[in-house]
Structure formats: C-alpha cells, structure tokens
C-alpha cells in the first residue's frame, strides 16, 4: 500500500496494535478514526475507490434525471448541470446563488417551506419534492426535486446535492411545446361533453365551453355553474327529486378528492321539463400529481346509451326479446326510434286477453310484433262484431295519436305473440316530439279507418262465406304461419253471425279444398282460391295498405 508521508504520520500516531498495523499493510483497512478530531479519515486507496464510485453514480444519475445540482451549506445553488437550460424556468443560470424558496415556485406556501427548511436543518434527504413554476411565456412547468446532504471525509456537512426532473403530467405536458396550452384548452372546448376541474375544496377552477354553455336544470346537478363556484356546495344543496343523487355525487367526489378512489361514476335516469327521458352520467377522475387540480368531472346527457343497453340487457334475461318488426316503428327515423325505445317494454300477449274494453282509459299502447289484435265493437252490450284487425303493420291505441284518451272499441288478443308496449303518457310526449312517428301513425290511422268503413259495408252486403274468406286472408297476412287456432264460436263473434253460419261457411270452403280445420286449428290450403272466394273488400284494403306505405 502506497501510504503517503502524511498518512504514515497518522498511522504511527494512532495505530498501536500489531493486528491493526498488519491489516493496514495488507490493504484491508479503509479508514482510521482520529480521537483528536473525532472523525474518520479515509485512507488514499479507499478515497480513490469512492471517487470512482461517485463518478459512476453520477453518470447513472444523469441518465435518470434532467438536472444535477449542488447547494452549499446555506442551501444556495452552486451548480446545476444537465439538459438544455432553455425556457423551462428551473435550470437557467439565474438560480445560482439562490435558495429553493427564493425561486418563483407557486405551489408552496410559507408553512410548507418552513417544514422543508426544518428537514434540511436535520440534514434529511428528500425525495420527489414537487414544485411548479411558470416560465416567461406563461407555460406551467412541474419539477420533481430530490436531494441528499453531502459530508466530507471528516463527516462535515458540505451542503446538499441532488437531481431534478421535469414531470410530464396533464398540466405539464404542454411545457415542451409553447402554445400547447391553447391546444389543450381548445380541445376541451371542442368537446360536447361538459368538463370541469375541481381543487381540493371542490371549487371549480377550470371548465370547458360546453360546461359554461350548459343551461343548468334541476336534474343535472350543478352542471353549468361558473368557474370559482363550489361544486360540492351545489351538490349538497340539490333539492327535490335530485337530493339523493346530489348527496351520492358529492360523497363520491369527496372520496376522489381525498384520494380514496381513482374513479367515480354516477348515473341516473331523469326527465327533462319537456318530458324527454335521458340518462345523466357523471365521471369523476382523480388527479394525483397536481397540487391544484384534484378531480376532473365530466358530465354527459345521453339518450342513445340507454337504448344501446336496453336490448343487450334483455338478450340475457329475456328469451322473448322482441325484434323490431313492427311497421310503425320501422317507419321512424333511427334517432327518434332510439329515444322512443327507452320506454318500450317487451311483453307477451296471450289469446283472449282484453287490452281495452269499450270506454276504457287507455293505459298502454301496443306495437304488435307477431301477435294479432282484433278491434271489436259491441251492439247492445252483447253482440260483438269485428271491425278491424291489427298485426305487426300497426298499433293498438290509435285514439291517443288523435288526442283521445279513451277507447271506443274493445281490443282483444286473437293471436298470441309478442309486442312492445308503452305507457300512454310517455307515448303522448314521444308522439309530440317525433315527426316520423306522427307521419307513420296518421297514415296508419287513415288505413285503419279505411278498414273500418270497408268492413262495415262488407258486413252489410256480403255473404258469410265471402266474409269468412276475407277474414282468414287478413289473418293470414298478419301471422307468419299457414295454420292458426280459432274456434267456430270465436269466428262467429268476429263475423257477427251465429255459430251455425260459421260452420256452414267453413264447410263450404273446406269442400272446395281452400282450407282445412280440425278442432279449431285452421289451415290455409289454397290462398289464391281463398282470395277468389272472398269479396272484393279484402283486395281494396290490402291494396290501400300496399300503396300507402307508412314511411
């Protein structure tokens, strides 16, 4: 070991034992403790090794940080090296000679600085201290600064050294290219979803254009209130129907701000003052690495989303899901149908079910999918006569479309099957708001009236046989099968004749091999022949339906 004269002197003075001397000579010793000064003195070889170590550390540090800095014992910067000292506001030469708290960081208050200074006095190391500043161009930069105390070989405090790096974050992403603050802002403003950012107290410190332009309704809690107002207060003061929603939303936001959860979603269905039904959806996202913004709220009002969920959900739970085969619904524009669909309820109708009695208030309207509904009128409270037949081409409950809430006929399910039903009040609102539904239903009502008048004339002038043939054809048009179940008694009611009359007419048709029947199961054998046997009334109504499309 090449021990210099200085160290030889030290060794001679301090080392008495042979074991220590031997260990030093064989190069196994790093340091000698000097009782006079109370310090450890590194031997030259160890010093050299540590210097090499430090150089290696430094090169690693360079790779993982933007800047390396050193401060003197008074915590003043004496050096700062690293990435370009351009406009980022931290590493330019102006910081030399200044303390951290002399620099224009705007996210630390006096109490926080005092706490840091106490730590420094304790010679504590600090990790990832986050500081924020604005450069001359007004761009925000966030820095993460770490430092550790430096002691010399004698254990004497020589200052601090450490690293700094710029944090790429939401606010800081724009630091690299000037002008991107504007881009970010413009992007937010371009979104139709309403977005605002809250600080730790729940005050709105930033809101996009859509937020500002939103006319707040009672249902959309607090949406649209201006920057600077407290959003949590708005939630807390939500009244009426939305009170529960306001409380739940505020609780969720508080959890996000407190850092207890990263993401909070809240949605609820509501009705607008005009009766529209929609879903209010709030998404609250936590922001951790930012000292000002703690949560970002986005609010969306959706009609379509619920619609999308509607049939999907049914897929799993309801094997009887109704396909959109109804001609009235199919005639609507897609957009208007989607709104309407929120309130459509799939239902199965059974044979003999009475949807309305004469004079009943209409509770629901029905869009048949593959069921068949007879519209009957009564004479003197007992004799029934069918005046119309509704299948997938129409709707049951047309009086509502004309502004009448009671039924003037009896609606009886004659062929069981599926339908979509809707509450009368919701239907009336939807009807007012949907031009395509109005057009379809006006046309359909006209066709239904044509059917009524033609049936009235037919019942007066044509034979039971011809009427039965017509009726079977109309039924056949509306069900997808050649076979259907109908008893003679029922047919007698439909046609307003005695049961014997039906039996005679049916035997005649069977004799001509147009139909067959056993115990109420009727099979159409020859549709063309049946059409020839029917009166002209069937053709007239059928042609009308074919030419006058609902759309």
């Amino acid at each position: 070991m090449d021990v210099t004269a200085e160290f030889e002197d030290l060794i001679l003075r301090l080392i008495k034992g042979p074991a220590e001397r031997q260990a030093i000579e064989s190069g196994q010793i790093d340091a000698i403790l000097d009782p006079a000064t109370g310090r450890a003195i590194l031997l030259p070889e160890a010093q050299l090794a540590l210097r090499v170590d430090q150089a290696r550390d430094r090169s690693l540090v360079k790779l993982s940080s933007d800047w390396q800095w050193e401060k003197d014992t008074q915590y003043r910067f004496v050096s700062c090296e690293g990435a370009s000292t351009g406009s980022s506001g931290f590493a330019d030469k102006s910081i030399i000679g200044k303390r951290l708290w002399d620099l224009p960081f705007d996210n630390m208050n006096d109490v926080q600085w005092q706490a840091l200074r106490r730590e420094l006095t304790r010679r504590a190391a600090y990790r990832d201290l986050e500081l924020r500043s604005r450069d001359r161009a007004g761009n925000v930069h966030c820095f993460s600064i770490s430092g550790e105390p430096v002691f010399n070989e004698d254990g004497e405090f020589k200052g601090y050294r450490g690293t700094a790096r710029e944090i790429p974050g939401l606010q800081v992403a724009d630091a690299t290219s000037p002008g991107s603050v504007e881009i970010a802002r413009a992007t937010l403003d371009a979104l139709t979803v309403r977005i605002c950012a809250l600080d730790s107290a729940g005050t709105i410190i930033l809101a996009n254009k859509a937020w500002g332009a939103f006319t707040a309704t009672k249902q959309c809690i607090g949406v649209g209130i201006p920057e600077g107002t407290n959003y949590l207060a708005a939630c807390d003061s939500a009244g009426g129907n939305t009170r529960a929603n306001g409380v739940a939303l505020a609780a969720g936001i508080r959890r996000v701000i407190a850092g207890k959860c990263e993401l909070f979603r809240y949605e609820y269905g509501c009705n607008s003052p005009t009766g529209e039904r929609y879903v209010c959806a709030f998404t609250v996202t936590a922001l951790r690495r930012n000292h000002t913004v703690r949560a970002v709220i986005s609010h969306a009002k959706t009609f379509t989303r619920k619609y999308a969920e509607h049939p999907l959900g049914r897929d799993h739970e309801d094997a009887d899901r109704v396909p959109i085969v109804n001609a009235v619904l199919a005639a609507m524009t897609r957009r208007e149908y989607q709104r309407l669909a929120i309130d459509l309820e799939p239902i199965r109708l059974n044979f003999g079910e009475v949807l309305y009695e004469l004079g009943d208030t209409i509770q629901y309207i029905y869009f048949p999918s593959d069921c068949l509904v007879s519209l009957l009128t009564e004479v003197e409270g007992r004799m029934a006569l069918e005046v119309g037949l509704v299948g997938s081409e129409g709707m049951v409950g047309t009086p509502l479309a004309l502004g009448i809430g009671t039924s003037s006929i009896r609606a009886l399910v004659q062929g069981p099957g599926r339908a979509l039903r809707m509450e009368a009040a919701r239907f009336q609102t939807a009807f007012r708001q949907s031009p395509s539904l109005q057009r379809a239903l006006y046309r359909y009502t006209h066709l239904l009236m044509a059917q009524f008048t033609q049936t009235a004339a037919c019942n007066r002038f044509h034979s039971v046989e011809a009427r039965l043939a017509r009726w079977l054809l109309m039924t056949h048009d509306r069900v997808s099968s050649d076979q259907f179940h109908l008893t003679h008694e029922f047919l007698a009611d439909m046609l307003g004749v005695r049961r014997v009359g039906v039996t005679n007419a049916a035997s005649e048709l069977r004799k001509r091999k147009l139909i067959d029947y056993t115990r109420g199961d009727i099979t159409i054998l020859d549709r063309k022949g049946l059409a020839a046997a029917s009166c002209g009334c069937y053709r007239i109504v059928k042609d009308l339906f074919d030419t006058l499309k609902l759309r």
Binding site: A23, D30, A40
Partner: protein, 108 residues
Amino acid sequence: MQRKRAKGKAASPAVATVVVMRLYISGNAPNSVRAIANLDAICKEYLKDGYKLEIVDVFEQPARALAEGVIVTPSLAKVSPSPAVKVVGNLSDKGNVLLALGIEGRAG
C-alpha cells in the same frame, strides 16, 4: 491472538446462544463492502439464525465508534457471549474470524 483463541475455546459451549456482533465500516469504501459480504457468508454458514449483527458506519456515528474503542475500519467486535473480541480488516481470513467468534470447532 493466542489469548483470544484460548478464551474462544473456553466460550465454545455458549455458541448455541445468540452471538451479538458489531461491524464498523466506513460507507461504501471497498474493504468495508467486502467485510460485510464476508461476514454475511460466515454467519449464514455457521450461525444460521443464532446471531445479531449491527453495522455501524463511522461516517454517520464517528463518536460512537471512538467510544467503543474502534481505531480502524472495517473492524468486527463480538459483544456477547463474553469475552469481547475484536477482528480488524476485511474478514477475508475465515479461520481467523471463526476463532474470534469462538466457533472454530464447527469449522472442520
């Protein structure tokens, strides 16, 4: 060293008890790092869980090291069982360390 060895032998029945040691080092200096590694290997091989080791960095606690009679680093002090024994150097001489710790009987 002769004296220490004799004492170590006398203490050998106590090996079953926990050996308490202090290793004095100076930061990341090369012999200090080596001493930690050497001692670690010896402890794992011969003492299993039967030891307690405290590492004292003389840069952090110079006064304490001086008070405990440390002159150079690295150096290892056996605190208990008695007698107290000290070994200096980077502990690369395993036999010497085992003797000092009073466990040379197991070395063979």
